[in-house]
Subunit: 140 residues, 3 copies
């Protein structure tokens, strides 16, 4: 396991905007506050969601779209640099009225309501292409 | 996205009491320690659970009751003030013996065993009615 | 609820090794860094997984094996001492290409890729047998 000891920096609690993309508004916030490395956890609800699943054999993302409301239980992710932009790598678990669940890597979801805790680190994390997985990972 | 930069305050690790409500004992702990703002993550098991799903059209919570044992994988939530009381807003993902999963906003669940990390913030968070969603959210 | 106020100590961001056990490499890292108490959150993907479910009546773990790739959405857990070894108590929620989900207490899973935030505490947590549940829990 490759790892980096980091120093905690700024911390935030946030209320996500209604009707706006969950991931895009985390990225806009990260740009505004110039956050170069962070982890976050969140909960709330979304109006729809497009989730991605990484096909480990084909090394491509497949997407699945859900046009229905969900509780977000939870969202967990991090902020780092990817190809010159701040990227909020987000995995989301979503539940329906009967308790049933879907989950995956978040492409995007329209926020109904959301609450987030963000912990910034005093370092910069940047993704680079990893040959083994064909994913963009941190060289730590 | 509305947000507030916060300072980290006290931190706790906790073992939840067997046979007692998961949410109510977090709220009792928050009262005892006078915690006015915190996020938490936890894992464990419960003996039953009542989950809520927010109907985004009708703007009402619908509940679904499960009278069976589950693993808690995980619970994520926060502590803030709601109508004069400390409220532990908790979303919980629950799994069965065959791996199948249900999840939602936690009304209450009887704890079998539970472990929690609580991070307090040096601020006060209080929920107020939000017109758009008819939920009680933080004005940040 | 039994709890202990703790001081935050070192913090880490990590990239898990491909092809290696998710839990075992967290434990190897904890040994290397001499971490005696921590919580972590993570996300990523695994190539397979063996999950456990604690039978609350029989007080035994039942296992269920999945020989297929999954997204990890998320993994939440902690590090503490169990019978003389550092143990990474880990609960994992896993999703498939169609969004469907399984979850449970992680026995082990082969990592495809993984990202972790680890927060160490300046204390030592050690598990002891609990008569009520027949689990190994923290006396706090």
């Amino acid at each position: 396991m490759d790892y980096r000891e980091v120093e905690g920096a700024r911390e935030y609690v946030a209320r996500l905007d209604h009707g706006v993309g969950w991931r895009s508004q985390i990225e806009a916030f990260a740009d505004e506050e110039k956050i170069d490395a962070a982890f976050f956890v969140g909960l709330g609800a979304v109006q729809d969601a497009t989730l991605l699943f990484y096909d480990q054999d084909d090394q491509e993302y497949d997407d699945v779209e859900f046009d229905e409301p969900f509780e977000v239980v939870p969202a967990v992710g991090n902020v780092s640099w990817l190809e010159g932009e701040r990227f909020a790598h987000t995995h989301m678990t979503l539940s329906r009225e009967d308790g049933s669940v879907v989950a995956g890597h978040l492409d995007e979801a329209t926020t109904f309501a959301g609450e987030l805790y963000v912990r910034e680190f005093d370092t910069e994390l940047a993704r680079e292409h990893d040959e083994t997985t064909d994913l963009d990972l941190w060289p730590l």
